[in-house]
Symmetry: C2
Subunit: 224 residues, 2 copies
């Protein structure tokens, strides 16, 4: 797997965690943000912490340069971001949607998800992207606290999508995170279930007073 990965929203904790993990794994990472200066500062700080070089750019520039674009902005910001990016996409680019329609993103409870007309955040993203861009939904269940350090995670990552190449790429990216196992999550519509799992994990974190509840699936073959 080659190419440049733009992580939009990587000035936030989730995107920053992914950026750090992938930069440490030797991948080319660009941090995207509304503000180029802020993105560059975040890239420099994160690069110093993980011992790797990252770039920073405004979202449009980041997307224009990238082969893979990862969405880590809060759910309510996705439609306007994708509207702003609508002329920036190039055929063959791959988008990985990690967003979750948590009710907390609009002031609701941390353990609930919003109803999304299309069925899930990922299906909404699919509707807002041009057809020439491939989409996979992944990484919704890996919390920022798990990604922050350099410890291996103890988690499976379901990758859902209707575009095989995007799924394959997302699964390869997932397995660059130590400890993470990528699983074929089936069609994009399954993101409905995977996204809601994040709310369940937040509830477990609250009830069990931890910060890093994760998920593993049992009974699967050893080889994928």
């Amino acid at each position: 797997m080659a190419g440049k990965i733009a992580i939009l929203g990587a000035t936030g904790p989730e995107g920053s965690g992914l950026a750090g993990r992938w930069a440490r794994a030797g991948l080319q990472v660009v941090i995207g943000s509304r503000d180029a200066r802020r993105a560059q500062e975040a890239a420099a700080q994160l690069g110093a912490r993980v011992g790797a070089k990252l770039e920073g750019a405004d979202n449009l520039t980041a997307v224009a340069e990238a082969d893979i674009v990862v969405l880590t902005v809060p759910f309510p910001e996705v439609p306007s971001l994708l509207h702003q990016l609508r002329s920036a996409w190039k055929p063959g680019q791959i988008v990985i949607d990690t967003t979750v329609p948590l009710a907390a993103t609009v002031g609701g409870g941390a353990t609930r998800v919003l109803g999304v007309w299309q069925g899930s955040a990922a299906e909404q993203t699919r509707e807002l992207l041009p057809k020439e861009v491939q989409l996979a939904a992944a990484l919704q269940n890996l919390g920022a606290e798990l990604l922050a350090g350099d410890q291996p995670v103890d988690c499976d990552v379901l990758v859902s999508g209707d575009d095989e190449q995007a799924k394959q790429t997302a699964m390869e990216l997932v397995e660059k995170i130590p400890g993470a196992r990528a699983l074929n999550g089936g069609k994009l519509e399954n993101a409905r279930i995977v996204e809601s799992l994040t709310a369940l994990l937040i509830g477990l974190n609250i009830r069990y007073k931890v910060h890093s509840a994760g998920i593993r699936f049992t009974g699967l073959p050893k080889t994928k």
Copy 2:
């Protein structure tokens, strides 16, 4: 934990699996069915297989005798069953709802769930039960194939509900199944997420050509 457990629908594979596990653990189990004769035959067969004595009765009789009632009938049969049972309940009885509104139960896809007006099968059940009866939702993610044998399962079981005593009882019953760890799944509304997980597990079974995908949560404290 004491008392008699009536499992309604235990002539089917899921209920039969639970009946076998709990009878083997020394609990008093009554298999409930529409037809008393069929329930008695199933109880005798299962008893011979697991080396324990089980009873069989029609649903009304089973509920009248039970301290704990476990629903394992297919989702579309729940409303009429609860309607039929409406005069049979006694205050203090505990109901454990294991049902999942799989689309397959009405001829749809195996990897999808139906929309339920109340939010979940369990919340619908709550609406159809008298207030004096306590409810917990649990065991939706333990497949019949996993329950069929006597091997330990490698699965966590989320127990959701708004009635503390029912949750506690359900958690104790879960831990009578070797290998199963009961987890506090929070409020009854979380059954929405837990039920949909069953559809996800069925999808993993299909994609990975296995029959016993299960779920474990990581990052939780060792003691509950």
